[in-house]
């Protein structure tokens, strides 16, 4: 009885728009110029990382700065199994290895540290990045007489399509988690962890498992990016920027909806590209900082959140209490 037009329209929008975007992205390497294909690869990369970060940290409020560690693990998976001029495992297998290794690392780190609260968790996870970097440096120099490794390069299109695939899976997983009972559990852990535990939620299991799952995509993306970098060393693989970027992008775009980190990632990546290649290239971090402070002060819900609030005000706040 309730097959009103609105339902169909809504269904068409929720399923239709992503499908159109996906077809466009799928055809992009055949229609877009090389430069823009490469730029889109970076868009996809940063979307993957910031959406993955938001799956766990956005919902629970635990600020993880370990993204660079998971990314670096992915890069080193590629360095070990996709070496230049060597017999290698197929790329898809290495992508899976990178994802799995990140999952295991995040699971262990989560199990040990997710009882830490607030800034202590952030500090520990960032410490992990630095620790892995130093340990791998030491290991490579001491036992392998190496500083860095060469990775078999892939074509721009291959890199693009792999990132597109990881991007699609990341978005689907993020969407499903958000819509599920499991996602609700995550959200209320963020609201009040103690009350959540006493309301029947296995808080530790939910936190550790989600953290580990969210790391898979970052690790997989690391594998692909290593084939673009072609030369990697621990300094490149475990660059702290990879830990901070997703946080900034997610805050910038807004964490209230799944589109927030996506839009934040695209805008940030594009601004970075303009600033880095233009005459302002020495000032781009400075301008980044100013933009971020502005967003935190004036748009506390991020760009997407602010637009939603504006829309609510325009449309008469009739759905003010529904959950996003």
């Amino acid at each position: 009885m309730d097959f009103s037009k609105i339902n169909w329209k809504k269904a068409a929008i929720t399923a239709g728009i992503p499908l159109v975007i996906l077809i466009f992205l799928g055809l992009w390497p055949t229609i877009g110029p090389q430069y823009w294909v490469t730029l889109f690869s970076y868009f996809l990369l940063y979307i993957i990382i910031s959406v993955s970060w938001t799956i766990f940290s956005g919902a629970t409020g635990y600020i993880s700065l370990a993204s660079a560690a998971f990314y670096g693990i992915g890069i080193y998976a590629a360095a070990l199994f996709r070496e230049q001029f060597a017999a290698n495992l197929p790329l898809i297998v290495v992508v899976l290895i990178g994802g799995l290794a990140s999952f295991v690392l995040a699971f262990i780190v989560g199990a040990i540290t997710l009882r830490l609260k607030g800034i202590y968790f952030a500090m520990f996870t960032f410490g992990l990045v630095l620790l892995l970097k130093e340990v791998i440096y030491y290991w490579e120099i001491q036992f392998n007489d190496l500083r860095g490794r060469f990775v078999a390069p892939e074509s721009n299109d291959t890199i693009y399509y792999y990132l597109l695939g990881i991007f699609v899976i990341t978005m689907i997983v993020a969407y499903l988690i958000r819509r599920s009972k499991y996602g609700l559990a995550l959200q209320i852990i963020g609201e009040n962890e103690e009350a959540a535990a006493h309301t029947g939620i296995n808080v530790t299991m939910v936190k550790v498992l989600t953290y580990a799952v969210s790391a898979i995509f970052i690790g997989a993306a690391g594998v692909i990016m290593a084939t673009k970098l072609t030369y990697v060393d621990p300094g490149v693989a475990f660059s702290p920027m990879m830990s901070f970027s997703p946080v900034l992008m997610a805050i910038f775009g807004g964490m209230g909806s799944i589109y927030g980190p996506v839009i934040g990632a695209v805008i940030f990546t594009y601004i970075e590209e303009i600033l880095k290649t233009g005459s302002m290239k020495n000032y781009y971090m400075l301008i980044f900082g100013v933009i971020l402070i502005g967003v935190i002060l004036y748009l506390p819900n991020g760009i997407v959140g602010s637009i939603q609030n504006l829309w609510k005000r325009i449309s008469g706040a009739r759905r003010a209490h529904t959950r996003g």
């Binding site: 209320i188 009040n192 103690e194 309301t199 209490h321």
Partner: protein, 245 residues
């Protein structure tokens, strides 16, 4: 039958014995009051039962089975629900969602979404919160937030409900409503243990009262017995010699 039993339960905070060798029981269908001066160990005892803390020594049994060593979520699923002294609601979520969460996660076998919504509506009706069902929980008055916590606790289908200072900070009207509420919950067959400072409420509702002082149990009996107990009067009013000076 003793639904809840404690035997020699002890918990130290550093060198301080917050709960010291306390043995107690709660019978099925009873309303038991837990009273004592500030710092007597009442909330600590609640935390030990609900597994927020683990006792150093002693054993806590629920329906005859040992429950210390379990996690809070397991305690909840076994059928022990609690509220908190300072309300801990999910403030950014609508009131009804707070209750639904109780039904979805709390019972041993969680409810389906549709059943949880239906049950949440019934519980809100029961608690008199239907009018504010879709408001964000943080916008409610303190009295309503406390009721919401009780509603969420009831949604987990407890056989034992632990209320931590439900009446504190309420005005006269709200107090009478809260007392009626406790009686109504009891009529549904739920066993209740309540920490309370409002003596009027305690004397009125409880079948039995346990008195803690400096982490030790100093009295256990009907409201009349406890009110006439010399030790309890000394603890609450000071010794006769002090009062004289």
């Amino acid at each position: 039958m003793h639904i809840l039993e404690g035997e020699g339960v002890t918990k130290y905070f550093g060198g301080l014995a917050a709960v010291s060798d306390v043995s107690f029981y709660v019978d099925e269908g009873e309303v038991v009051g837990l009273i004592g001066p500030n710092g007597a160990g009442k909330t600590t005892l609640f935390n030990l039962i609900s597994a927020a803390l683990e006792p150093k020594t002693g054993e806590i049994r629920f329906k005859g089975k040992k429950i210390n060593g379990l996690k809070p979520y397991q305690i909840c699923r076994l059928g022990i629900a609690r509220t908190f002294q300072t309300v801990k609601i999910f403030g950014n979520l609508p009131v009804i969602e707070n209750v639904r969460i109780g039904s979805l996660f709390g019972p041993f076998k969680g409810l389906s979404t549709a059943d949880a919504t239906r049950e949440a509506n019934e519980l809100l009706e029961f608690m008199g919160l239907s009018d504010v069902a879709y408001a964000p929980a943080r916008d409610l008055t303190l009295a309503h937030q406390k009721r919401l916590e009780v509603a969420r606790a009831l949604a987990t289908k407890p056989t034992l409900l632990m209320l931590d200072e439900l009446m504190a900070g309420l005005n006269q009207t709200e107090l009478i409503e809260a007392m009626d509420l406790v009686k109504k919950i009891r009529e549904k067959g739920t066993t209740i243990v309540m920490i309370e400072h409002v003596m009027k409420a305690i004397m009125n509702i409880c079948d039995r009262i346990i008195v803690l002082h400096h982490g030790k149990k100093i009295a256990d009996g009907t409201p009349q017995e406890v009110a006439n107990s010399k030790t309890v009067i000394e603890v609450y009013l000071g010794e006769a010699s002090d009062a004289g000076n």
